[in-house]
Symmetry: C2
DNA sequence: ATGCATTTGTTCGTATGTATC
DNA sequence: AGATACATACGAACAAATGCA
């Protein structure tokens, strides 16, 4: 018994070894955003692989949002600054192939947004509070202005709240999930005949949340936030899924 | 003024068009998990592109977790069932390049886990409740048994709770973020000299949460869950970041 | 502003190891 | 065991695009 415990040898493709090394260099900070990778021909020398292999590796790194290469650029592929694009892509794919329902996405938003506003109520700066107030004010102006302006001001409000939460992960996920939800119901949003009533109700809700944040009452702000999102989106989710959303209300 | 609003022409690479079409086929359900793509040679005919272009497209699809190709497989690339691997990968990358702190990750776990338990308290089935109880029981047995057994039983408990929440997105994100956190502190976890005391405290907390779930008291269960996670992880996060964690406690 | 050299995007051909029948 | 079809990997070539002198 005992003896050396051999591990199964997984054949690792050549392009993967290239990806691993470059990825490690980027994530460890040895390569910073804005810097350039060597040219493809230079890489094939350094890694002792063919150009095809180098290119397959670059495609993977590009798909992960780490680099970008342009034809003719004599400087080689560019190391990109962080972007949630890759996360966005994989979560969008997830939503489709895992067949996430609109209710699940909205519920997730309720969780994230209410948590963000709970934290923001306790951690926000005065400057951030002013930004939130300005966003709500912009929402009021937008009721009669343009059709897009209202949605944009709404996004700004939630962005400021997410930022004020102090948690970058919450901020990023909030942004990603919101854009997925908005894309899913973008067509329905347009032809709502009671659009103006919905907007005025939404503004009222935002004012209440803002007041709670100003007062530093996190739990109240969170509760109001969940209620506001429920009221705004409940009409778009199937009736039999609304109960799951209501389970988050107090 | 006015006139047609021209859009900038972005040159789209050949391999991208291939990716788009295959991706669309998979996400729309035209291609189901287990099914096979045509062979590379067949694909180059159908898309009228070269072998290299086909291969670059396949690498991207593989990086997104949609297909897998093996050498010698006479059937061509396999369409994979959904897996959160791609989401896991991009969130791990995010954690490194966006320099997420342990505190932010733990805070995110507190948000997700407490929301899951809140929902589970209201939506769980009796069978799921029994699974949770069994997991806590396994944690008790594991205190003296193995060192890994405790952690595994703990994972099982939270998995059941996440599943009982009825929200697949919460379930997946909970799983992804937990594995990232555990990886970050895996080395520290081993050499805690007061390990047994921590385990007994954790079991006590889990029993309380379980009781609240059984009683259907969601808010209480959520509150206990946040407190439990704070007590368990606070020692690992930097002192100046603990206040952000406490902002989530009531 | 105009070439020029270099790089990427893409194609084609070939050789090799491997899985399946 | 052999034949077949496949993916992996290499190398050479051409077109298009870019940056620089």
């Amino acid at each position: 018994m005992g003896g050396p415990r051999f591990e199964p040898v997984r054949t690792v493709r050549a392009y993967e070894r290239v990806v691993e090394q470059v990825e490690e260099a980027i994530e460890s900070g040895a390569l910073s955003p804005g810097e350039r990778l060597p040219s493809e021909r230079e890489l094939m020398v350094q890694f002792s692989v063919s150009r095809s292999t180098v290119r397959e590796a670059l495609r993977v790194l590009q798909a992960r949002g780490l680099v970008r290469s342009r034809p003719g650029d004599p400087n080689g592929a560019e190391v990109l600054p962080f972007s949630p694009a890759a996360l966005h892509k994989s979560m969008t794919t997830l939503a489709r192939v895992a067949e996430l329902s609109l209710a699940e996405l909205v519920q997730f938003r309720m969780v994230l947004d209410s948590s963000a506003v709970l934290l923001a109520a306790r951690l926000r700066t005065d400057a951030e509070l002013a930004e939130m107030a300005a966003a709500v004010s912009a929402m009021r102006d937008a009721v009669e202005a343009g059709r897009d302006a209202f949605g944009e001001a709404d996004v700004v409000f939630h962005d400021v709240v997410a930022r004020a939460s102090g948690n970058k992960l919450i901020q990023i996920c909030t942004d990603v999930v919101r854009s997925i939800v908005l894309k899913l119901i973008s067509e329905k949003l347009a032809d709502a005949d009671d659009r103006e009533a919905l907007m005025r109700q939404s503004i009222r809700h935002h004012e209440e949340v803002l007041a709670a944040v100003r007062a530093g009452d996190g739990p109240l702000a969170a509760q109001l936030s969940r209620k506001a999102m429920y009221d705004y989106y409940a009409g778009y989710v199937q009736a039999d899924e609304r109960s799951a959303l209501r389970a988050l209300l107090d």
